[in-house]
Symmetry: C2
Subunit: 188 residues, 2 copies
DNA sequence: ACCTGAACACCGTTCAAGT
DNA sequence: ACCTGAACACCGTTCAAGT
């Protein structure tokens, strides 16, 4: 988001910064156009399983996959609710799947929101973690913290301290998604 | 994150930008110091229920509450894993609660990660939504999209279109958190 | 309608110099 | 050790002018 600058874009296309402002009100608008374009091209609709619960998982995973391939887009898009028109079909599948599983339309919307929070969070956290790995003195700081854990005060963390990095490096998006969906379908 | 500038900070404390660099390597380091300071002050430890499942919910909700009161911090902190030492106690409670509910230590760490993704996502999405509400032409664009929905193609969304804004405005963090925790505890 | 140049009001950071 | 001033290499955006 910060790495695209109006001036550099203008230079790369052999124009001037001000020419851009003739086609776009400001940088924000340009980013939203980029977002919509990317969404339209990257969100290919997958074949959906018949079982509504699996349909939810597949639709959410498709959104997740498109975003994971292009994490900068998340910075732009963490708006209200993934609001590119080409993404609405996926939202429909999720909401519909939840309704078919017995939720009221209202609870289905809330359920979709929870899935979106989880999905957006996974992307944002992983993206900033990856960005920070380049300037890696934060990583060594973490190692030091986990090395110095007091097993009396934080026994569980001390227990997994040496496995923390590989464990949190594993891609468990789908496991968490399945858990969340399962939990949403438990009627309390 | 962008709104704190080295130059303005220097001016406000009656100093020069360069004096700051004598105490801090760069802006990133200053932000991390701010983060740690905020975490140490804002994360007051709540009384925890005996039931491990409720303990998880209460610990996660405490983190969420501290972040919701100060959403700019999330921009800084969406690092690997909420890594202020003063937050580790909360992580311990969550991991321990999951283990007491029968998960292996490894699955408990993954479960904590899922909870963190969900929590961070909720904060980020709500924060950027709120930021965007100021320049509100994106909101009217959304209204237009939801007004023009084709009920043949997207029936569920058309069905809830007029209630979308209030529905997504509701604070359902706790509901989603409970669903996620419940799902994590279902052994498959 | 579409583009340009110069300017405004900013950034983070480096460098050489001061006490 | 701690601070300063001037400078470097950038930003997004406005404004007045050109074709």
């Amino acid at each position: 988001m910060d790495r695209l600058t109006m001036r550099r874009l203008a230079m790369e296309i052999g124009s001037t910064p001000m020419a851009l402002y003739h086609h776009v009100r400001n940088k924000e608008e340009l980013l939203v156009l980029l977002l919509d374009d990317y969404a339209a091209r990257a969100l290919r609709r997958p074949e959906l399983p018949a079982h509504p619960r699996e349909r939810i998982v597949v639709a959410a995973a498709a959104i997740h996959e498109a975003l994971a391939a292009c994490p900068w887009i998340v910075e732009v898009l963490t708006a209200d609710d993934l609001m590119s028109t080409s993404a609405l079909w996926f939202v429909e599948q999720i909401v519909d799947g939840l309704v078919e599983c017995g939720l009221s339309p209202e609870r289905a919307v809330h359920g979709y929101r929870a899935i979106w929070y989880y999905t957006a969070g996974e992307i944002v956290v992983r993206a900033t973690a990856a960005r920070r790995r380049e300037g890696d003195d934060r990583a060594t700081y973490r190692e030091q913290v986990f090395g110095d854990l007091d097993p009396g005060e934080l026994p569980r963390l001390a227990q997994v301290a040496d496995r923390w990095a590989p464990l949190t490096g594993e891609d468990t998006y789908l496991d968490g998604l399945r858990a969340l969906v399962a939990g949403l379908l438990v009627i309390r």
